[in-house]
C-alpha cells in the first residue's frame, strides 16, 4: 500500500513515515497542501493520506476540500493528524471529507488503531 504524509514539520513526517514503513507502506511526503496536490499528480491515487491542519501555502483542511472535489482520489482514505482539538474542527474536517482524525500528541498505537478503523491494516 502507498501513503502520503503531509506536514510542514520534517520531524513529524519522519515519525509518521517510520510507523507507516513498519506496516509495509510505501511513503511519499509533502510539506504543505499545494505540494501534496503536486505529489498526487505524480503518484496518482494513494491508499492513505495523513494530513496536518496548520501548514503554509495551503492548510490541511483546504487540501482535503480540494482533493475531495477530484474523483481520481475518491478511494484515498484521509486522516487528519493535528494539534487542533476542538469539536468544531473535528466536525469541519469530517464534513470536508476526512475519514479519520488524530490529535497530536499521539502514540504509535493510536495510528495503528485508527488504521484498523479505516480497514487499512489489522489493529
Amino acid at each position: 500500500m502507498r501513503a502520503l504524509v503531509v506536514d510542514d514539520s520534517r520531524a513529524m513526517r519522519l515519525i509518521l513515515k517510520q510507523i507507516l514503513r513498519e506496516l509495509q507502506f510505501e511513503v511519499f511526503e509533502a510539506a504543505h497542501g499545494l505540494e501534496a496536490l503536486e505529489r498526487l499528480k505524480q503518484t496518482g491515487c494513494v491508499d492513505l493520506a495523513l494530513v496536518d491542519w496548520n501548514m503554509p501555502e495551503m492548510k490541511g483542511i483546504d487540501l482535503v476540500t480540494e482533493v475531495r472535489k477530484l474523483s481520481d482520489y475518491s478511494a484515498m482514505k484521509i486522516m487528519m493528524v493535528t494539534t487542533e482539538t476542538e469539536m468544531e474542527q473535528v466536525q469541519r474536517a469530517l464534513s470536508a471529507g476526512a475519514d479519520e482524525y488524530v490529535m497530536k500528541p499521539f502514540t504509535k498505537d493510536v495510528i495503528l488503531e485508527k488504521l484498523g478503523v479505516l480497514g487499512l491494516s489489522a489493529p
Binding site: M87, L94, A98, D99, Y101, V110, G116
Partner: protein, 259 residues
C-alpha cells in the same frame, strides 16, 4: 517486580501498586497486600508473580479494542439475537471487567448506532469491575485526549461526546444505558439476570486455572441457551471448561454452550 517485568516503582508511586495489586490479592482470597508480598517472596518465580506483573502493567483498555469483536456483535450476534427475541423484546448484556468504561461504552455506541429499534426493548446492560476507582471513572464517562484518540472513530466522537475543558465526556443518554456495579469475579456475585451476551475480556489472565474454571463455569450457568460469551484475544475456554464450544463469528470467535 523489577526482576520479572523491568518495572521500577518510584517512591511516591505506592498508591499505584496498591490500586493495581489489591484486586490480585482479593482475587486470591488474601486480605492484605502484606500477605500477597509474603506469598510472592516464598515463590518469586511462580505464576503468582506473573499475575502481579500483569496487574501492574494493565488497567489497559481502549475504545473498540481489537475491533473484530465489535464487528461480530454488529454483523452477526445482535442481528441473530434480535430475531430470536422478537416476541419478548428483552436483551441482557453483561460486561465484566469494564475497567475505565471504554468497553461498555463501545458496546453502547454500537447498540445506539446500528440497532435503534432496541430503544423500544427492555435492554439491561450491566457493567462490572472489582475496582471502585474504575467504576467511578465509568459512571463519570470522562476521557482524556489520549484515550479518545485510541480506537474511537471520529464520527462517534462527534456524535456521542461533549468536550469539557481538555477532556471529553460521553453523552448522558449513553451513560444512562449502562448500570455500573462492583463485582469481584473471584468472589461472591450479586444477583445477575440470565444473559444473552457476556463480554469478559482480558481479565481471566489474572487468575489461576482453578479460579478461571470457577468463573467460566458460573458465566456458563448465567448464559441463555443461545447466548454467547466474548473473551480476550489471548483467552480461551479450552482446557478450562468443556461446557463451551468456540464458534466463528465474522472475523473472530465467540463461545457458546456446547450441546
Amino acid at each position: 517486580m523489577r526482576e520479572r517485568s523491568a518495572i521500577v516503582l518510584d517512591a511516591g508511586k505506592e498508591y499505584l501498586a496498591e490500586s493495581r495489586l489489591a484486586p490480585v490479592a482479593r482475587g486470591l482470597g488474601l486480605s492484605t497486600l502484606g500477605e500477597l508480598v509474603s506469598r510472592l517472596r516464598s515463590e518469586p518465580r511462580g505464576s503468582l508473580s506473573s499475575r502481579v506483573v500483569e496487574a501492574m502493567t494493565t488497567n489497559e483498555t481502549s475504545f473498540f479494542r481489537d475491533l473484530n469483536p465489535f464487528d461480530a456483535l454488529r454483523t452477526t450476534i445482535l442481528p441473530q439475537l434480535i430475531q430470536a427475541r422478537a416476541k419478548e423484546r428483552t436483551l441482557n448484556l453483561w460486561c465484566a471487567a469494564s475497567s475505565s468504561g471504554q468497553e461498555p461504552y463501545t458496546i453502547a455506541m454500537v447498540l445506539r448506532e446500528h440497532f435503534p429499534q432496541l430503544l423500544e426493548w427492555r435492554v439491561r446492560f450491566i457493567a462490572t469491575d472489582i475496582s471502585t476507582e474504575m467504576l467511578r471513572r465509568c459512571r463519570e464517562g470522562i476521557y482524556s485526549q489520549l484515550e479518545i484518540n485510541r480506537g474511537l472513530p471520529a464520527r462517534y466522537l462527534v456524535k456521542y461526546f461533549e468536550k469539557r475543558g481538555t477532556e471529553w465526556q460521553i453523552h448522558k443518554p449513553l451513560r444512562d444505558m449502562v448500570e455500573f456495579v462492583e463485582l469481584n469475579l473471584a468472589g461472591h456475585w450479586p444477583a445477575l439476570p440470565q444473559c444473552d451476551v457476556v463480554f469478559i475480556r482480558n481479565v481471566l489472565i489474572y487468575f489461576n486455572l482453578e479460579t478461571k474454571r470457577d468463573i467460566v463455569g458460573r458465566v456458563r450457568k448465567l448464559l441463555r441457551p443461545d447466548g454467547c460469551m466474548f473473551l480476550g484475544g489471548a483467552e480461551t475456554t479450552l482446557n478450562v471448561d468443556e461446557g463451551f464450544r468456540r464458534e466463528a463469528a465474522d472475523k473472530t470467535f465467540v463461545y457458546r454452550l456446547a450441546r
